[in-house]
Amino acid sequence: MSDWEPKIVSFLCNWCSYGAADLAGVSRMEYPPNIRVIRIPCTGRMSPKFILAVFMQGADGVWVSG
């Protein structure tokens, strides 16, 4: 199991966390590539259905940040 990497899908608020993810890029901060970002206008937009859909799709974790 040592080389197992979880698949993570993140929902990031356009105004804060998405910008922070951009900034991490500007600062060339390395992080593992097994994460996919979906931009949402606000974490208020987040719906439980999205989380279920992501798990259905085979993801191991969901990260909502905003």
Partner: protein
């Protein structure tokens, strides 16, 4: 290039102008070195030896051949010497077929048969001739003009132009008896014969006549060919010898005997063979035409030298025997070929000449230059262009040189190694062996970069976007005249140069860097890719020291007396970032005089650095640092807080350099006609801080005074506003309206998606396999076009995308590039230009969130990029065109607060022609400024305030409401409705924008007997006494100020910014009133920032005593026998001290308003300290995140009067940009209800922070009671969508199906 060890590039640059670098680099007397400015430091750079080095280091024939466009016109060149070869080289590069006709069996001319092999080995020459012939040049040997060919004959053979470069191969005659005897060999012929191995050995003694290079070459060759004794006879002295000194020295070294002041009279012969030379002694007479003293024979001094061989080498001339074969070509009076000096055209059209045949015998580099010029002429001639246009005799530009420091270390010129004397005498092996690599690099590093750019064009090679081309590189400055109504100077300041202080070793030691350089080291795009390493050995530093106030707060020569205002905060930032970069292993120490973190929220930052991150702050001004031998470490000595002497070594030292106005700007200010202060900052007043001494010219930023980014940005808006007031009448008079193509209706069409994958130079393409992503995208459903671009955001690519959209009738566009946060609007504009709705666009962020963060894993980064693009395509497939609602903007403003900031804003707003409401809760205008006496510069605040109040009261555009309170606020940007209660009367004000200038006030402390003893007052109360001209102040004997009362404490961890300067000003005033008064200021860090440092210096000179107290220990005020007694701990003396003043002044904090009604009414945030929080500290310092609302003055943060005025104007500037637009567009990404499904539950109405949803009135015909959303108010956050239990709300652009499409297109979620 050589300094950078890029030898191929060096050779490429050299061969742009010189086809024979190895040859010229060996034999040239290098007149160019005379012009080298390095001689002002030590000696000129060995340019010549460096050229040779480059040619030896990289094989010229491995250079790539240039792109050549072939031409038909044939050119004939006569002579394969330096002139002929050079002309052939450049003509061949222009594409012309060139044939060189050479009389000898070898090529190179004098280079081959004139210069002996020990100076120029034939293989070097042959290699470079091959470089010329590689371009397609053909050389026909043993073909002499006159003997084998004629010019007319060549023309008949189809040659369109002829270049005569036949050289000077004929010897001058001695004109003495028996000159033709056997054993007399003319010099040039001798050298030629020995070069062609016709002479292989000499025996006996040799006498050479002459003093030029040929004489010396002949002598040294004769020696090598085995002659027993070689003598040179010269008729003048060594001083007059034309041969180069190095050559003469070499000859003497090798044992050549040189006899001066002797001339030949007759060759003594025996049976037709020379056996001796009769000579006569000479003496020097009067100077001749050449300026040299003429040799005169000494009568009766004849004598005979016995010799076997005589070599006369007294000069050479052009062999003119070809003339008959070149009709029309004429000679000049020196019997050389006559040409036009600019074009090198002979008297016959289309026939050109150059080299020795045209100039007489000269140096090879001149022949090369002539050949190059002739090539230009011939090329122009064959193109039927004007030969002369734009050509001038070459002149060396001797101006606009890059200045260089006087402290450059002197470095001796390197000498090339040579072969042994034994070898030298034995044969023709090359004597000089060329510079060694380390010698060459050191020599090249000495270059002073006189012209800054050396035109290596390496930048052109690396610019993948083709923004830099040879054409754009050669762009010159041009003068453009513009008619303007106002000028804003934002010329800034530059970092102080610390190299003038040798005690810091900045110029000498790589580990001592300036703060700006350290910023670069920390930067991801910096020299070490963002890895914190020290420059000397690229090792991670363990200890770094920052030295504050380098060049600031220093009145020594060359430094600046002011505080630069920005260095404390940036040093703290750098120390914190450095700690982050080093993952916590770094010891960061900041050596300071006072920590001046006076800006908004800066104090918190300082506390965080000190307490949370462990940055060490050491109060000690460091004036010198000592490098520790060979370790790269720097030793700092200081005295710590306990009085102990400490020595500490640091890996790196960062010099926190201040800001300084460049001399260039200061000089220009004279031309602009504006006054400067004694530090060369633009002179302004506190009441008009952006106005220079010249009407219509405004200033902002660090050219006005040293300042940080937020202040500069505020300044710039204020300057724009000040310019706007005088130009308000011409608003919109010179604007152009853009033509927007009509939008194509794509509804109902199947998706036709275009995907544009950006390489972003190497930013994306360096990690992600772009070709893979392109191929992958082609297979996605709905995609009809995929392409990759070098830089998708460049203007030409934008234009191209517009065309591609039209050509392929794309109705959805995906750009896989950087982040939509910065680039979405740009690409949306591109869609609009192509007639496509801008909401049919999606960005795939494969840079910021992929290539930049997965540099170590290109494979995975490519896979992730494909996924990201796939998700974007899936979403784009479901896009629908959206419309934006337009709304009118009410052309008036509301200013809340009648203090200086509010009034300055109202006045400025009115000047720009907008109706302004100014509301004040008190029954008078003026705010805190009513208590202030003078600015720190001594300007009368009351006088200004009364003028301002008058102006506001009388302005037709301003309506003032006193005693007013806001009771309700409705509406939004463009259409606010604010209800106020003014003198018990309610009224509704309609306005498009709102400016908050609600102020702050002085803390009334409950400390130090304030309120209990009348001798204890606040700073503002003392100011009021000055305003009131209180005579009692003159009777005071001792006054004590306590700083930071209520500021910089746990409950209020901010600096109140104004108190230090205000206390110093008040102290100076007290001293003025009564010079005998004892005045003490008890402080923690004294913060008279920027130019205010002058006031601090003045105060000290007036005898005001500044004492640093320990804020961690008790400071008390008591009454003892009616005396006020202040007791405190002095940090310097480390003793408890006591002063008994008769006036105790508390420099009390500025505290925000406690009433939070504005926060509620306008939904605007406050920071942790209670001051209003701007949208962005640097980028939007007077805006709120909520549109249409702006902030200025003390409500934003503590600040002095000048900064309040500036901020008031800045807020107006930002507000006017909205008002002047007259209408504004709301975003199309808004929520919409479906009333058919809506259950009227009202959740959306209650959750919306923007009051966008409402119920449809009950009396409405359709869907009464159901929810509707006002698209103007909606911010598109989606809160209502997520909370709608009926699923009746859609969010356009982020709808459920679109987000699901993204989720389901995930490749098993990555």
């Amino acid at each position: 290039m050589i300094a950078q060890e890029k030898y191929q590039e060096a050779l490429e640059i050299i061969t742009r102008t010189l086809p024979l670098p190895g040859v010229i680099g060996r034999i040239c007397p290098h007149p160019c070195e005379e012009a080298c400015r390095r001689k002002e430091v030590d000696e000129p750079i060995s340019i010549c030896s460096l050229k040779r080095f480059a040619a030896d280091k990289f094989n010229i024939n491995e250079l790539p051949l240039p792109d050549i466009t072939p031409r038909d016109e044939k050119v004939a060149i006569i002579g394969a010497g330096p002139a002929g070869l050079t002309a052939a080289y450049f003509l061949a590069k222009d594409g012309f077929p060139v044939t060189i006709f050479e009389a000898l069996p070898v090529a190179g001319g004098m280079l081959r048969v004139g210069i002996p092999d020990y100076r120029l080995p034939p293989d070097v020459l042959e290699k470079e001739i091959k470089w010329v012939t590689r371009l397609g040049v053909e050389i026909k040997f043993n073909t002499a003009l006159g003997r084998d060919i004629t010019i007319d004959g060549l023309m008949d053979d189809g040659y369109k132009s002829v270049y005569l470069a036949i050289g000077c191969h004929a010897d001058m005659k001695l004109n003495i008896p028996n000159e033709d005897a056997k054993g007399v060999i003319p010099g040039v012929k001798f050298l030629r014969d020995s070069a062609l191995y016709d002479i292989k050995k000499l025996e006996g003694s040799v006498v050479i006549i002459g003093g030029g290079d040929v004489a010396i070459d002949a002598a040294r060759s004769a020696l090598r060919l085995g002659a027993d004794k070689v003598s040179i006879l010269y008729r003048r002295t060594q001083a007059e010898m034309p041969a180069r000194n190095e050559e003469i020295e070499d000859a003497l070294e090798e044992g050549v005997d040189i006899q001066f002041l002797m001339a030949p009279v007759e060759v003594v012969e025996n049976e037709g063979r020379a056996v001796g030379l009769k000579c006569i002694k000479m003496e020097l007479g009067d100077p001749d035409a050449s300026g040299r003293r003429r040799p005169v024979p000494v009568k009766g001094s004849e004598f005979v030298v016995d010799t076997d061989i005589i070599i006369p080498a007294i000069g050479q001339r052009t062999d003119t025997s070809f003339l008959e074969s070149a009709t029309g070509v004429e000679l000049d009076r020196w019997h050389n070929i006559q040409v036009d000096p600019l074009t090198f055209e002979t008297t016959k059209k289309g026939i050109f000449a150059g080299g020795d045949a045209q100039t007489g015998p000269s140096i090879a580099i001149k022949a090369v230059a002539a050949g190059r010029e002739a090539a230009v002429s011939i090329s122009r001639y064959l193109n039927a262009e004007d030969l002369k246009e734009g050509r001038e005799p070459l002149q060396l530009p001797q101006e606009n040189f890059n200045p260089f420091s006087k402290d450059i270390e002197k470095v001796k010129r390197s000498r090339m190694p040579r072969i042994s004397m034994e070898k030298r005498k034995k044969g023709f092996t090359e004597v000089e062996r060329g510079l060694r690599e380390n010698q060459a690099v050191i020599e090249a590093e000495k270059c002073l970069n006189c012209m800054v750019c050396c035109e290596c064009f390496e930048c052109v090679k690396v610019c993948k976007a083709e923004a830099l081309t040879l054409k754009t590189h050669s762009q010159k400055d041009e003068t453009v005249e513009v008619n303007v109504g106002s000028i804003i100077l934002a010329s800034g300041a530059k970092p102080y140069d610390p190299s003038k202080h040798d005690t810091f070793n900045y110029a000498k030691h790589p580990n001592v860097v300036t703060s700006m350089e350290f910023e670069r080291i920390l930067s991801a795009s910096g020299p070490y890719g963002g890895h914190l390493v020290r420059p000397s050995d690229k090792k991670e530093p363990k200890k770094i020291a920052w030295l504050q106030c380098i060049g600031s707060r220093d009145v020594h020569l060359g430094a600046n007396g002011y505080c630069s205002g920005v260095c404390c905060t940036y040093a703290i930032k750098e120390a914190m970032l450095a700690k982050e970069h080093s993952h916590g292993n770094l010891d960061a120490a900041i050596f300071y005089i006072d920590i001046r973190t006076y800006g908004k929220d800066f104090e918190r930052y300082y506390i965080r650095a000190k307490d949370d991150l462990g940055v060490r702050f050491i109060k000690s001004r460091i004036t010198n640092i000592v490098p520790v031998k060979e370790t790269g470490m720097q030793l700092i000595r200081y005295v710590d807080e306990t009085g102990k002497s400490v020595e500490e070594e640091f890996d790196m030292v960062v010099l926190s350099v201040g800001l300084t106005v460049s001399m260039e700007i200061a000089e220009k200010a004279g031309k602009w006609g504006i006054d400067l202060d004694h530090y060369n900052f633009a002179r302004t007043s506190s009441f008009e801080p952006v106005k220079t001494s010249r009407p219509g010219i405004f200033v902002c930023g660090a050219f006005q005074a040293p300042k940080d980014i937020p202040s500069s940005v505020i300044d710039s808006s204020a300057a724009a506003s000040a310019a706007g007031s005088i130009l308000a009448g011409s608003r919109w008079s010179l604007t152009k309206t853009r033509d927007i193509p009509e939008e194509i209706d794509v509804r109902g069409e199947p998706p036709r998606i275009g995907v544009f994958v950006c390489r972003c130079g190497t930013n994306i393409a360096g990690i992600v396999n772009i070709d893979d992503v392109v191929e992958y995208s082609k297979n996605q459903p709905g995609v009809v076009h995929v392409e990759d671009n070098m830089f998708s955001c460049s203007q030409d690519t934008q234009d191209k995308i517009t065309e591609v959209i039209k050509e392929h009738r794309l109705n959805r566009v995906v750009v896989a590039a950087c982040t939509p946060k910065t680039h979405e609007p740009l690409f949306q504009e591109t869609l609009i230009n192509a007639g496509v709705n801008k909401y049919l666009f999606e960005m795939a962020n494969i840079r910021n969130q992929c290539s930049w963060v997965h540099q170590d894993n290109p494979g995975k980064a490519t896979e992730k990029s494909k996924d990201i693009v796939k998700m974007a395509i899936a979403k784009a497939r479901l896009f629908e065109p959206l419309s934006e609602s337009t709304m009118e903007i009410n052309q008036s403003a509301l200013v809340i607060g009648g203090g200086v900031a509010g009034m300055a804003a109202a006045q400025n707003m009115a000047e720009q022609g907008y109706k302004t409401f100014l509301i004040e809760k008190k029954d008078f205008l003026g705010g805190q400024a009513r208590h202030l006496h003078e600015t720190w510069r001594g300007e009368d605040i009351q006088k200004y305030l009364n003028m301002l109040i008058d102006a506001v009261r009388t302005d037709q555009n301003i309506k003032v409401f006193l005693n007013s309170q806001i009771t309700q606020v409705d509406g939004f940007v463009g259409n606010f409705k604010t209800t106020i209660k003014s003198n018990e009367e309610s009224r509704v004000l309609e306005h498009g924008v709102t400016i908050i200038a609600s102020g702050a006030s002085e803390l009334k402390p409950d400390l130090y007997l304030y309120g209990q003893d009348s001798r204890v007052v606040t700073g503002l109360e003392l100011q009021q006494r000055f305003v009131d001209n209180d005579q009692a102040l003159a009777r005071l004997k001792t006054a004590v100020f306590i700083q930071c009362v209520g500021s910089r404490i746990k409950e209020r961890p901010y600096c109140s910014k104004v108190c230090c300067t205000q206390s110093i000003k008040s102290a100076v005033k007290l001293k003025e009133i009564n010079p005998g008064m004892n005045v003490f200021i008890l402080y923690r860090d004294l913060r008279p920032y920027g130019l205010r440092e002058d006031l601090y210096r003045e105060a000290r000179s007036k005898g005001i005593v500044f004492i640093r107290y320990d804020s961690n220990k008790d400071l008390t005020a008591d009454v003892e026998h009616d005396d006020l007694k202040v007791t405190f701990a002095d940090r310097v003396l480390r003793r408890t001290m006591e002063i008994r003043p008769d006036l105790l002044i508390l420099a009390s904090a500025i505290v925000p308003e406690t009433d939070d009604s504005l926060t509620r009414f306008y939904k605007i945030p406050r920071n942790a300290d209670g001051f209003f929080e701007e949208a962005h500290v640097k980028l939007r310092p007077v805006d709120f995140a909520t549109d249409g609302i702006f902030v200025c003055g003390l409500a934003h943060a503590p600040k002095p009067i000048d900064e309040s005025i500036v901020q008031g104007k800045a807020a107006v500037s930002r507000a006017v940009t909205l008002l002047a637009g007259k209408t504004c567009q709301a975003s199309g990404n808004v929520a919409k209800t479906n009333p058919l499904i809506c259950s009227s539950c009202g959740v959306c109405v209650s959750v919306c922070p923007y009051s966008a949803p409402s119920f449809i009135p009950e009396d409405d015909r359709f869907f009464p009671g159901r929810a509707q959303i006002n698209p103007v108010l909606c911010k598109g956050c989606g809160l209502c969508v997520a909370s709608c239990r009926s699923g009746a709300i859609n969010l356009k652009g982020f709808d459920n199906d679109q987000i699901f499409a993204q989720i389901f297109s995930l490749n098993e979620a990555g």
